[in-house]
C-alpha cells in the first residue's frame, strides 16, 4: 500500500497548486469579459477613452494571465504525476473533457491572447474586437470543460467499472457532459470569476477616484463593473443554491457535514446559522432558521434530510455490498470466464468503491472484520468544522456582494459615484473578499468530497502514485518557493502599474486615426464635427 505520508503530501501539493492556480483563473474569466465589453463600447462609439480603458485593464489582465498559464500547465500534468492510479482508474472518462478543453477552448484563448496584445495596429477595430471576444469565450469554454471533468468527480454518471481493464469506462458520454452537477458548478464558478473581475475593476477605479486621478477612466470602468458585477453576484448565489440542491441528491454526506448535522433533520429541515462545537465535536449551541434548509436543499417542506449518523450507517451497508463486488472481481480475475461471478459483479459493482475504503485497514478486504467496516464507514465523514465555516464564509461574502453591487449600480445610475468617500474606501479595502470566497468555495467542494477523489467510486488515498517521500519533498518545496516568489513579483508589478496609471505609455496619447492607419471604421456613431 502507498505510504500514507506520501498520500498526505500529494494531497497537500494538489490543494496548494490548485488553490494557487485558482487565484488567477477567476480574474481571467471576469476581466476578459469586462475588457470585451469596454472594447465593444469603443468600437460602437469610437471614443478613445474606451480603448484606453481596454488597454489599461488589459495590461493587468496580461500579468494575471501569465500567472494562470504558468500554474495551469502544472494542473494538467499532476494527475499523471501524483495521482497515477486515479489516471488509470478513471482516465477513460476524465481524460476526454480535459483533452476537449484543449481542443475547443484553450487553443482559442491562447492563440488569440497574443493578438489581443500585439494586434492593435495590425487589425481593424472590429477585427481586434472579435479577437478580444474570442479570448473571453475561449476562457469561459475552458472553464466549462474543466468543470465537466470536476463535476464527474462529484457525481460520476455515464460510466461503469470494467473488470477486464480494472477501470471505469464511459458508457454514456452525453450524461457526462450534461451532468447536472457540472452544469450548476460551471455557471456558479464563472459567475464567481465575473464577480472577482468586477470587484477588481471597481476597487482600483475607486482608488483612482479617491486620489482624483484618471477620473474619466475610473468612472466609466465603475459603471461597467457595477452592472456586470450585480448580474454576476446574483448568478453566483442562485447557482450556488442550485449546486446545493443538486448536491442534496448526489452528495448527501457533504451537505450534512457542511451543516454539522449529525442527526437526521425531520422535514422541514432548519438551517443552522451559527454553531459552537462541544467537546465531542458536535454542535453544543446553535442558532437555527426553521424550514430554510429544507427549502434550499429539497425545495419542499415534507422531506427529511439525513444526518451524518444515518449516512454512516448507510455507508456501512454499501461497504458490505462492495465486499461482495470485490470478491466477485477477484473471481473474475482468476477465471475471466466465470459467468456467475460476472453476474454478481454486475449487480454489486456500484458499491465497489466502498470496499476500497477498507484498503486502509487490510489488503484482503473480503476478510474485513465488523470493526474494520465500522471504521471505514466513519471514514466517509469529511472534517465537519472546516466545511461548516468555509461554507458560511462563502455564502456570507456572496450575499454581501449582491448588496454591494446593487448599491454601486444605484449610485452609478444616479451619477453619484464620487459622493461618498467612505464607500469608495470600502470598495478599495474589500478587494480580497472575492478571492477568500472563491478559495473557501474550493474547500467546500473538494475537501467536502473527501475521503473520495471520485464520489463513491475511488478513495483519495487509493488513487495516489507510489512515489517516495523525497520526491514529494523536492517537488512541493520547489513549487512553494517558486510560486511564492512569483506571486510577490506579480503583486509588486500590479501595484506599480496601478500607481503609474493608464497614461504610462506614450502611444496611448496618439491620435486615434493614426493608430489605425488606413482602416476606415464601419460603425462610427460619433457625430461628424
Amino acid at each position: 500500500m502507498i505510504d500514507p505520508v506520501v498520500v498526505e503530501l500529494s494531497r497537500l501539493q494538489f490543494a496548494a497548486t490548485a488553490m494557487y492556480h485558482f487565484i488567477f483563473v477567476p480574474l481571467t474569466l471576469g476581466l476578459s469579459f469586462l475588457m470585451a465589453i469596454m472594447e465593444s463600447v469603443y468600437v460602437m462609439t469610437g471614443r478613445p477613452i474606451w480603448r484606453q480603458m481596454t488597454l489599461f485593464w488589459g495590461t493587468l489582465f496580461g500579468i494575471n494571465f501569465a500567472m494562470g498559464v504558468a500554474t495551469g500547465i502544472v494542473m494538467e500534468f499532476q494527475f499523471g504525476m501524483n495521482w497515477s492510479y486515479y489516471s488509470h482508474y478513471v482516465g477513460d472518462v476524465f481524460g476526454a473533457p480535459l483533452a476537449i478543453e484543449g481542443l475547443m477552448a484553450f487553443f482559442l484563448e491562447a492563440t488569440f491572447v497574443g493578438l489581443f496584445f500585439f494586434g492593435w495596429d495590425r487589425l481593424s477595430r472590429v477585427g481586434h474586437l472579435a479577437v478580444t471576444w474570442l479570448v473571453a469565450i475561449g476562457a469561459n469554454f475552458s472553464a466549462l470543460w474543466i468543470l465537466i471533468a470536476n463535476g464527474w468527480m462529484q457525481n460520476p454518471v455515464g460510466a461503469q467499472f470494467n473488470p477486464d481493464t480494472m477501470r471505469m469506462e464511459v458508457i454514456d458520454f452525453v450524461a457526462v457532459i450534461f451532468n447536472p452537477v457540472a452544469q450548476a458548478k460551471f455557471v456558479h464558478t464563472i459567475s464567481a470569476g465575473y464577480v472577482a473581475g468586477s470587484v477588481f475593476v471597481l476597487a482600483i477605479s475607486a482608488l483612482f477616484l479617491l486620489q482624483g486621478r484618471h477620473v474619466e477612466l475610473a468612472r466609466r470602468s465603475m459603471v461597467v463593473a457595477a452592472s456586470f458585477g450585480l448580474a454576476s453576484a446574483i448568478s453566483v448565489v442562485v447557482l450556488g443554491d442550485e449546486s446545493g440542491y443538486v448536491a442534496t441528491e448526489q452528495q448527501k454526506m457533504k451537505i450534512a457535514a457542511m451543516e454539522a448535522m449529525y442527526e437526521t433533520e425531520k422535514a422541514p429541515a432548519a438551517l443552522t446559522l451559527f454553531a459552537i462545537p462541544g467537546a465531542d465535536g458536535r454542535p453544543a449551541y446553535q442558532v437555527q432558521l426553521p424550514f430554510v434548509l429544507g427549502l434550499i436543499t429539497t425545495r419542499s417542506l415534507d422531506r427529511d434530510l439525513p444526518g451524518i449518523t444515518e449516512l454512516t450507517q448507510r455507508a456501512a451497508g454499501r461497504i458490505q455490498n462492495g465486499i461482495i463486488a470485490y470478491a466477485a472481481l477477484d473471481a473474475i480475475k482468476a477465471n475471466p470466464g466465470d459467468a456467475a461471478a460476472r453476474a454478481t459483479f454486475e449487480r454489486t459493482s456500484p458499491d465497489l468503491g466502498y470496499a476500497l475504503l477498507l484498503k486502509r485497514y487490510r489488503d484482503d478486504v473480503q476478510n474485513a472484520t465488523g470493526e474494520q467496516i465500522a471504521l471505514a464507514a466513519l471514514d466517509t465523514v469529511p472534517d465537519v468544522w472546516p466545511l461548516f465555516w468555509s461554507f458560511r464564509i462563502m455564502v456570507g461574502i456572496g450575499l454581501f456582494y449582491i448588496a454591494f453591487f446593487a448599491l454601486w449600480f444605484w449610485k452609478a445610475s444616479r451619477l453619484t459615484l464620487t459622493s461618498n468617500r467612505a464607500l469608495l474606501w470600502v470598495a478599495v479595502v474589500t478587494l480580497p473578499l472575492p478571492w477568500i470566497a472563491i478559495e473557501v468555495g474550493w474547500i467546500v467542494a473538494e475537501y467536502g468530497r473527501q475521503p473520495w477523489v471520485v464520489e463513491g467510486v475511488l478513495p483519495t488515498f487509493y488513487a495516489a502514485s507510489g512515489l517516495h517521500f523525497w520526491d514529494l519533498v523536492i517537488s512541493l518545496s520547489f513549487f512553494m518557493l517558486l510560486y511564492s516568489v512569483l506571486l510577490a513579483i506579480m503583486v509588486w508589478l500590479m501595484v506599480r502599474i496601478v500607481k503609474a496609471g493608464p497614461h504610462s505609455k506614450s502611444v496611448l496619447d496618439v491620435d486615434d486615426d493614426a493608430y489605425f492607419p488606413d482602416r476606415p471604421l464601419a460603425i462610427h456613431l460619433e457625430p461628424a464635427q
Binding site: L55, G62, I63, F65, A66, V69, A70, G72, I73, V74, E76, F77, F79, G80, M81, N82, S84, Y85, S87, H88, G91, D92, V93, F94, G95, A96, L98, A99, I100, E101, G102, L103, F106, A110, T111, G114, L115, F117, F118, G119, W120, D121, N162, D164, T165, R167, E169, V170, G466, D471, I474, S475, F478, F479, L482, I489, M490, R496, S506, V507
Partner: protein
C-alpha cells in the same frame, strides 16, 4: 453497447498516429519557442536584440504551447495507462520540465515591465532555462523508452516504479536529449534567420548550421546504437489487437537488435529516418544559402522525421518495461475504451482543422521581420 462505426484496432492505430501528430505539432510549433529560448542569451546579446527575439515569438508562443497541453490531454484521454505510468515514473524529470515551463509565461510578461538591467538579464536566463531544460528532458524521456523504464504493474494495474531520476541519465537517454535539443535549436535558428535582420540573423545562421550538423551526427549515432547495440523489446505472444486494454496478458522478450524488426518487416518505414537526416542536411544548406523559408521547411521536416522514427521503431510499444517486460505498454493494450477513442476522434476532427486555420491566420497577421522601430509602436511589446 451502442455500435461504434470504427473497429477497435483501427481506432487504436489512428490514435497512435494522432499521438505522433500532436507530439510533432508540439515540437514544430512549441519547439520553435523552446529553441529560440535556448538560443536567447547567445544569439541576442544586448537588451534591444533580446527584445527583438522575445517579440518575435511573443505574440504566438502561448498558442504554440497548447500543443503540449493538448498532447498531455490526449495521452490522458486516449492512452490512460501510458499517462499514468510515464508521468509518475519520470516524476522528477517532469518536475524539472514544469518548473522550467513555469518560468516562460512570467518571463515574457514580467521582463519588459521594469527597465533595470539586472532584472532583465535575470529573466533572460530564466527564459533560457525555460527553453533549454524542456528541450533536453523531453528527449531524455523518449530515449529512455528505447532502454525501457523500470516499472511494474500489479494485478489491479497499479504502476510501481523502481528507478530514479539519475537512472534516466544513461548514455542513450542523454544522446537523445542532445538530439532533441539540437533539432529544436536548428528549428529556432531558422525562424530567427527568417524574421530578424542583420547581426541577429547572422548569428542565428551560424548557430543553426552548427546545430544542424551536430544533430545530423548525433541522430545517426543514435540510430546505430539503438538498432545494433541496444537491447530491444519484442512481443512474443499473439496479441489481440481488439482486446481489452490490459497490459498483463502478453509475453515480451528483450532481444538485442529487436528495434530493427520493424524495418525488416516494413522496409518503407526507413523513409522516416531518411526524412530526418535529409531535413537536417537541408536546413544546413538552406541556412548557408540564406534560403530562409526552405530552412524552416527543412527543420520542420527534420523534426517530423526524427519523431516519426522514434514512434515507428518502438511500434507497437508505447513504453516498454525493463523491470517486467510483460507489463510493457503497447498500442494494443494501453488505450482507452473503444467508445472514448471514437468520441475523442470525432472531437479532434471537429476542432483540429479550425485550430490549424486560425493559427495560420494569426501567424499571417503577425508576419514580417521584427525591428526595433516596430517595438516602439506597441505599448504591449515585451
Amino acid at each position: 453497447m451502442t455500435s461504434i462505426p470504427l473497429d477497435y484496432e483501427t481506432l487504436r492505430l489512428i490514435w497512435w498516429a494522432l499521438l505522433g501528430i500532436l507530439l510533432i505539432g508540439f515540437a514544430i510549433m512549441g519547439g520553435m519557442d523552446l529553441g529560440i529560448g535556448a538560443l536567447l542569451p547567445f544569439v541576442a546579446r544586448t537588451d534591444e536584440e533580446r527584445r527583438i527575439l522575445l517579440n518575435l515569438i511573443g505574440p504566438t508562443w502561448e498558442g504554440n504551447q497548447v500543443w503540449l497541453v493538448l498532447g498531455g490531454g490526449a495521452i490522458f484521454a486516449a492512452w490512460p495507462p501510458l499517462y499514468a505510468a510515464s508521468f509518475s515514473g519520470f516524476y522528477i524529470a517532469m518536475i524539472a520540465i514544469l518548473l522550467a515551463l513555469i518560468l516562460r509565461p512570467v518571463g515574457f510578461k514580467f521582463r519588459g515591465k521594469v527597465s533595470n538591467a539586472t532584472w532583465r538579464s535575470s529573466w533572460d536566463w530564466a527564459l533560457f532555462v525555460g527553453g533549454f531544460v524542456p528541450a533536453v528532458v523531453f528527449g531524455v524521456a523518449v530515449g529512455n523508452l528505447f532502454v525501457g523504464a523500470p516499472f511494474d504493474l500489479d494485478q489491479t494495474l497499479r504502476a510501481s516504479y523502481a528507478g530514479n531520476f539519475f537512472g534516466l541519465l544513461n548514455p542513450f537517454g542523454l544522446l537523445c536529449g542532445l538530439v532533441s535539443l539540437g533539432m529544436l535549436v536548428t528549428h529556432g535558428s531558422a525562424i530567427i534567420a527568417a524574421r530578424t535582420e542583420s547581426v541577429i540573423a547572422g548569428r542565428a545562421r551560424t548557430y543553426g548550421r552548427i546545430a544542424a550538423l551536430a544533430t545530423f551526427t548525433l541522430f545517426l549515432a543514435g540510430g546505430v546504437v539503438s538498432l545494433f547495440m541496444l537491447d530491444g523489446y519484442s512481443v512474443t505472444s499473439l496479441q489481440d489487437v481488439a482486446g481489452p486494454s490490459n497490459p498483463l496478458g502478453k509475453s515480451v522478450a528483450i532481444i538485442q537488435g529487436a528495434w530493427r524488426a520493424n524495418y525488416a518487416l516494413y522496409p518503407w518505414m526507413a523513409i522516416a529516418p531518411v526524412l530526418g537526416l535529409g531535413g537536417l542536411a537541408g536546413a544546413y544548406l538552406s541556412l548557408t544559402q540564406d534560403a530562409h523559408v526552405r530552412a524552416i521547411l527543412s527543420s520542420s521536416l527534420a523534426i517530423f522525421g526524427i519523431i516519426a522514427t522514434a514512434g515507428l521503431t518502438l511500434f507497437p510499444f508505447l513504453m516498454p518495461s525493463s523491470l517486467n517486460p510483460a507489463a510493457s505498454l503497447t498500442v494494443w493494450d494501453a488505450s482507452s475504451s473503444q467508445l472514448t477513442l471514437f468520441i475523442m476522434l470525432i472531437a479532434t476532427l471537429i476542432f483540429l482543422p479550425g485550430i490549424l486555420v486560425y493559427t495560420l491566420w494569426v501567424f499571417r497577421v503577425m508576419r514580417g521581420t521584427v525591428t526595433t522601430a516596430a517595438l516602439e509602436r506597441n505599448p504591449n511589446a515585451y
